[in-house]
Symmetry: C2
DNA sequence: ATAAAACCTATTGACATACTAGGAGAATAG
DNA sequence: CTATTCTCCTAGTATGTCAATAGGTTTTAT
């Protein structure tokens, strides 16, 4: 399962913000890029996607940066992923009627559909807060503070 | 979830062969392309992938075509998909040690890993024969013969 | 005013996809 | 033997997405 770096970095950045905006209030793009070892300029293109989806809020100017703007208990990982790439969790479609596509439709229903459902169920069942905590716990040296 | 046409057509072709090689013995590329409404030339590039994976056998010359060369009860849908695109069911990897990739590794373990496991479990749990039958049953006008 | 931050737009190289095209070689029916 | 009908092989091509890189503009706290 090849996930694009856009999605990967986006999730990474969001969790970084969730975990690191606790005391600071906000986290800048350059902080994230240095902490996670990814390109700042590229990150600057990805973060607006999260902002547009209403997941983070941005503060311009000196001392500014990003912070969560959502209820992290309510937001599901599905929403996060869809904000970054809506094709990942989209099911394929076949218009009814074309009889030469009957088998294609059957395969859709029996294979791609169920696979998709499983992915969606998993991501739908996990909130951003729950996920961030899990990731924090996963870190080798632990993580002293948890958000929310 | 965007599945490439290569994978889509490959699965389609294999099921077509499974369902239609019953009486005939073999199914030609042009038959499949006409029945399913897809390009014959493109199909000719996809079918060798299934052959190389040992799933089908090819017979050249007049009256030739393709037929199953595997025990369809034993073959799992995982094998079929991997024969067509090995990146779909591959988990992402992160080498241990790089401390700046700690969070990336955690996300891998808590999100991409489990998603991948679910996909693999589903496709591993479904044999080609079971799947072909399901698809046959799914067709509106039914399907009079089932293979194997 | 200055520094630091987000924001916006453009460009680029690399790669994969989804074909199209043309023929070579094998096998078989007549 | 020959014509036909298959698979098989290789090459080319248009399109799009990815993953950046780059340079500049605007906003804001101090």
């Amino acid at each position: 399962m090849r996930v694009s770096t856009r999605v990967e970095y986006g999730v990474l950045a969001l969790v970084d913000i969730a975990l690191n905006s606790v005391g600071a209030g906000s986290v800048s793009a350059i902080e994230i890029s240095e902490r996670q070892g990814i390109s700042k300029k590229y990150l600057e293109q990805i973060l607006p996607l999260l902002k547009q989806a209403g997941l983070i809020r941005a503060q311009k100017g000196l001392g500014g940066g990003y912070s969560l703007s959502c209820n992290a208990d309510r937001v599901k990982m599905t929403d996060v992923i869809n904000a970054l790439d809506n094709s990942i969790l989209e099911p394929m479609e076949y218009e009814e009627g074309d009889s030469s596509k009957e088998l294609s439709r059957a395969i859709n229903k029996c294979l791609w559909g169920p696979i998709n459902d499983q992915m969606r169920n998993f991501t739908e069942g996990m909130s951003l807060s729950e996920f961030s905590q899990k990731c924090g716990n996963q870190m080798t040296n632990g993580w002293d503070m948890y958000i929310i």
